[in-house]
């Protein structure tokens, strides 16, 4: 529980640094899109944000911790999921960071609707996958 709170406080602090420092919303979706917009000087901050984000893993290791991940999803499903996440966050203008943290923190109704929608869609998806898995109708790997 404390790890989750500490992590959340750090994420909020990171968002605060970017907002009060340079007036930008720390949304991963806009960072993703900005990767393809090097020519636009006003979006170049995203490259430096992305560099910091990606280097957090080795930095965490330098601090003496070992991050863990568990993925058992098969390759076709990984690709479908990645496409859905990339496509959906683009047309929805945000994800867990932009809508979920910053938008909710700004008390934006639009972001609230988006956040409730994607969390609910995620919960339904997991429930459906678990149903198929336990009933062994198809061999979906969780």
């Amino acid at each position: 529980m404390w790890d989750e709170i500490a992590g959340g406080l750090l994420i909020g602090t990171a968002a605060a640094i970017l907002w009060l420092g340079i007036g930008r919303i720390s949304g991963m979706t806009s960072v993703l899109s900005s990767v393809f917009a090097w020519a636009e000087a006003k979006r170049r901050w995203a490259y430096f944000f992305l560099a910091g984000l990606v280097l957090a893993w080795p930095f965490y290791q330098v601090l003496g911790y070992e991050p863990v991940i568990h993925i058992t999803t098969n390759q076709p499903l990984l690709i479908v999921a990645g496409l859905l996440v990339g496509f959906g966050t683009y047309i929805g203008n945000g994800c867990t960071s932009g809508h979920g943290v910053c938008g909710m923190g700004r008390l934006s109704v639009r972001s609230g609707v988006a956040t409730v929608t994607f969390i609910f869609a995620g919960m339904i998806t997991v429930a459906v996958m678990n149903f198929f898995e336990t009933s062994q109708i198809v061999g979906v790997q969780p």
Partner: protein, 138 residues
């Protein structure tokens, strides 16, 4: 200075994702598994982050401009429309399938795990497909 602030923010953001365990797809799917073995702990991550940003944003409203820039780039979109909801649904389904959303997926790149690489590559393709076939929100 803007570059340094951006880098620092990204680094702290990434550490937050790692410490909270939000970067582990299995944990995220446990959080989404509300009808099964639900692990609600990750609510605390979003809760704590929202509270901190709420305070920071309120403080920002009392300032004319950010410390190292001329203007606060406040999001201008307020509409709730089918595009927003469709986007959130598609994202939510993809999120549930694997347990990765964009931030954690990018943080996990240095694991060099093949699954993460496939997911990130597909995510970038999905972003560009939406860009070319749907286009930015006006």
């Amino acid at each position: 200075m803007k570059m340094l602030i951006s880098f620092l923010s990204g680094l702290v953001f990434g550490l937050g994702l790692l410490i909270s365990g939000m970067n582990d797809p299995q944990k995220v799917r446990g959080f989404l598994d509300i009808f099964g073995a639900w692990q609600p702990e990750l609510i605390a991550v979003m809760g704590a982050a929202v509270v901190v940003f709420f305070v920071a944003y309120r403080f920002g409203l009392t300032r004319k401009q950010p410390v190292f820039s001329d203007v606060f780039h406040t999001p201008v979109l307020t509409q709730i429309n089918i595009r927003l909801v469709m986007g959130a649904v598609l994202f939510g389904v993809g999120w549930g399938l694997v347990g990765l959303c964009p931030g954690p997926a990018l943080v996990d790149v240095f694991s060099f795990d093949a699954s993460v690489m496939w997911f990130v590559a597909a995510m970038l393709v999905g972003n560009r497909l939406a860009h070319y076939f749907v286009g930015p929100t006006k």
